[in-house]
């Protein structure tokens, strides 16, 4: 490259035409080549400034170099690459993991295989903490599911083994559930604990020989605490269910809960459904028998009942263990029985219907045994179910009958037998109970009757009181009603009187008005009270009742006018009670004298007036009366008696208001 550059510089420096001609002559085609080289050089210079293009150009070269080096490894190369290898792998795993794993697969897989082959133990130790638990979990789960699935199918189906077991049970006299326990030796129950649920105290325990638990009481409490802890978590998580299986190392604890106790079975493997069902059935029989003991447990496990409970639990465990060393129940059976079995199978094939009935009977007997622990023979006839067998407690009857009633609606014929002692004991108990009940009932009856009598007395007294009260209330009500009626009546009367008064008042005003109109401006008319007063005319001389003759025409004319106003109009007349001629004296004489004189004066005027024909024609004699008032109403002028004016008569009308006033006064007085 430096030679080319020198040539280029020389060419540029020789610029003259001669020189160019000389160049053309000497160099000719080389000069053209030189120009092409110059152009290429320019391009190369441009490329060297672009870093990415340089890398692209150089990378294939480096790849080839690297491949060559790796194919013929040298320590130095490996040393250099190993320092960057981890970073390169990390980078590749992020940018293109698929490609990286593909690249590594071919190398690593054979390497691991080789390593496992060479150092098997070490590799297992290394991988187990990571893989062991996971593998173990999935394998256990898969096996458990498989076993349960198989068990279910066996349970539902008509497998030969099942029938074989049933037939075996019939012939050997050993229950099917016990035979099942023989067969389920894969999950060995080593211990059974019955624990009081609330306190966690151990009520009873049983263990296989050499399998006794150390500190079984602490274990029982601890198992209770763990179960409570997990159940508490389950409840807080709002999930359904209860802990039933706890595993620790090789041990598995199957926990069943009922009533006031737990039953814990220690096993060497997780029990399948069939075994669980069997354990539960056994637990059920214990619960029925010892329920009262369990409920009343207060920490004392030394009672006789708990000792028998322990014996039963041990027998249950030993039955299981016995299968290992002892011959199975089938081995005890007589070969002749197997021939009979075959004949029986032929017979079953011969009579399908009979077989169905027999199968039902058998199933029912099994249910009874599982539910109550008693072996009861069941025979179904066309109209009833006959139960035969032996039970040792009356309490067992009810659950047995319930199971049968649940299975068939046919009536039960009970031919179950019981030890005579138990029967007698039961009768004695019943008798005692009946006696006790009779006494209690009689006492209760007496108490009730006494109570009722007392209550009846109280109620009669209360009733009497209520009746008295009611009577008083009725009287009060009557009185109130009457009073109200009376009040209303009086009120009505008052209203009538008020209306009458109003009418009278109105009528008085009308009469006075009519009198005013008739008398005009006559000084004789007292327009305030509607009277004609002869005070101004000196009608009488002192001590005389003789009417002044000169004044008689005035008297007659005035009275006639007065009467005409009052009596001519029928409406006004209907209100007129009477017409009063009042006689008056001056104050000169004594009172009695004046009264008599005034009376004479009034009578004198009345006589005179009634003697007049025109007045007679009015037929008002009965209405007119004379009254002497003495000197009680003298006429005074500026505080001095006007004796002439006092000697007078006054004519007034009386309206029919007196009766009304009397009525009002009476009402007010009442």
């Amino acid at each position: 490259m430096s030679i080319v550059y020198c040539l280029r510089r020389n060419i540029l420096q020789s610029s003259t035409s001669e020189f160019e001609q000389l160049q053309q002559l000497l160099l000719g085609s080389e000069l053209d080549h030189l120009k092409r080289l110059e152009e290429q050089l320019k391009r190369v210079e441009f490329r060297t400034k672009d870093e990415r293009e340089i890398i692209q150009m150089v990378m294939p070269l480096l790849d080839r170099m690297l491949q060559e080096r790796l194919q013929n490894p040298e320590d130095a190369v490996v040393k250099v690459l190993s320092t960057h290898l981890s970073a390169l792998i990390a980078q590749a795993s992020q940018t293109n993991p698929a490609k990286l794993s593909l690249a590594l697969q071919s190398t690593i897989a054979p390497a691991i295989s080789k390593e496992i082959a060479n150092n098997k133990e070490k590799m297992i130790d290394a991988l187990y903490p990571v893989m062991g638990g996971m593998v173990s979990k999935y394998v256990s789960e898969a096996i458990r599911e498989f076993v349960e699935s198989v068990n279910e199918k066996i349970e539902d189906g008509l497998s030969f083994n099942r029938y074989k077991r049933k037939v075996k049970a019939k012939l050997s006299g050993v229950s099917e559930s016990e035979l099942l326990l023989y067969e389920s030796r894969e999950s060995l129950i080593s211990s059974l604990l019955i624990i009081h649920k609330e306190s966690g105290l151990l009520i009873a325990e049983a263990h296989l020989q050499d399998k006794a638990l150390e500190d079984s009481h602490i274990v029982a409490s601890m198992a209770t605490a763990i179960k409570d802890f997990i159940n508490d978590w389950i409840q807080k998580s709002q999930k359904q269910g209860e802990v039933q299986i706890l595993s620790y190392g090789d041990a598995t604890l199957y926990i069943e809960s009922a009533g006031s106790v737990y039953l814990i079975a220690f096993l060497d493997a997780v029990p399948d459904q069939e075994l669980r069902s069997h354990i539960n059935s056994f637990f059920g029989t214990l619960l029925m028998e010892y329920m009262e003991i369990f409920q009343g447990f207060e920490g004392d496990s030394s009672s006789e009942e708990i000792a028998t409970l322990t014996t039963k639990m041990e027998a249950y465990l030993n039955l299981q263990e016995g299968a290992e060393g002892h011959t199975s129940p089938a081995h005890h059976s007589n070969p002749m029985k197997w021939i009979a079995v075959l004949l029986g199978i032929v017979g079953l094939g011969y009579g399908g219907y009979l077989g169905k009935v027999a199968y039902f009977e058998y199933q029912l007997a099994q249910k009874i045994e599982q539910g109550t622990g008693y072996q009861v023979a069941v025979t179904c006839s066309s109209d009833r179910v006959i139960l035969e067998g032996r039970i040792d407690r009356f309490e067992a009857l009810s659950p047995i009958e319930k199971i049968v009633q649940h299975a068939t609606p046919k009536p039960i014929e009970n031919q179950l037998t019981m030890p005579l002692a138990k029967v007698q004991e039961r009768f004695a108990w019943q008798e005692r109970r009946m006696d006790g009940l009779s006494i209690a009932v009689a006492k209760r009856q007496k108490r009730l009757i006494e109570g009722y009598e007392e209550r009846t007395k109280q109620m009669a007294q209360e009733l009497e009181g209520i009746q008295k009260q009611l009577h008083k209330l009725q009287k009060y009500l009557k009185a109130t009603t009457m009073s109200q009626h009376d009040t209303l009546s009086r009120l009505n009367q008052l209203n009538h009187e008020r209306e009458a008064i109003e009418r009278v008042a109105t009528m008085r005003r009308e009469i006075v008005s009519a009198l005013k109109q008739a008398f005009g401006q006559s000084p004789l008319l007292n327009s305030k009270e509607g009277s004609v007063d002869f005070a101004k005319v000196n009608l009488f001389m002192p001590d005389s009742d003789q009417i002044n003759d000169a004044l008689k025409p005035i008297l007659q004319e005035s009275f006639e006018r007065y009467l005409f106003v009052l009596l001519n109009d029928p409406t006004l007349r209907s209100y007129i009670q009477g017409i009063v001629i009042e006689g008056h004296t001056d104050s000169s004489g004594g009172e009695q004298y004046n009264l008599e004189l005034s009376q004479k004066r009034a009578e004198s005027v009345r006589t005179y007036l009634l003697s007049q024909e025109r007045i007679k024609a009015l037929h008002a004699e009965g209405l007119i009366r004379a009254v002497g008032l003495g000197s009680r109403d003298i006429v005074e002028v500026n505080g001095v008696e006007d004796k002439e004016a006092s000697r007078r008569i006054k004519i007034k009308f009386e309206i029919k208001s007196n009766k009304i006033v009397e009525n009002i006064e009476k009402i007010i007085d009442d």
Binding site: G200, L201, I218, S221, A225, I226
Partner: protein, 158 residues
């Protein structure tokens, strides 16, 4: 043999577990205490000729992030409530523990341990006023521990 369930209750770090260690014959691994909040220990004793056994549930104090199942409290015949005599808040919370316990076990008996008495000076001890059923205890010096448990056992069993 009569067995009874006894609870040991109190706030965190008042010395319940130390009292148990000082007293009992046998117990489960301590790791269970932190796992499920309870540690169960066993103590056999003879009271007036009667053989009996206490199953002592050392129940961890509840914290805001962790609650203790109430079923632990059930079925207990008695309880020992423990407080740290040097920490007033643990004494104040005794009532709450006692009320919770008695609510679930109406007829149960209880005693109180004012623990860590070894940290008190003599004048402080003299000024201290304790209820009738309380004991000033020290697991460290084995002071009153036996008496505490025996008193409750007598209450429960006799």
């Amino acid at each position: 043999m009569i067995r009874k369930k006894i609870l040991l209750l109190g706030d965190f770090s008042v010395g319940k577990t130390s009292l148990i260690r000082r007293y009992v014959d046998n117990s489960f691994d301590d790791s269970y205490l932190t796992t499920i909040g309870v540690k169960i220990s066993q103590k056999r004793l003879e009271l007036e000729g009667i053989s009996c056994e206490l199953l002592i549930w050392d129940i961890e104090g509840a914290t805001p992030t962790r609650s203790i199942p109430h079923s632990y409290f059930k079925g207990a015949s008695g309880a020992i409530f423990v407080c740290d005599v040097n920490r007033s808040e643990t004494i104040e919370s005794l009532n709450e523990h006692i009320n919770t316990f008695l609510m679930l076990n109406h007829e149960a008996k209880h005693v109180i341990a004012y623990n860590k008495a070894d940290l008190l000076s003599t004048p402080q001890k003299e000024e201290l006023f304790l209820p009738a059923n309380a004991f000033l205890t020290s697991a460290k010096l084995d002071s009153n521990v036996e008496r505490l448990f025996t008193t409750l056992a007598k209450e429960v069993l006799l």
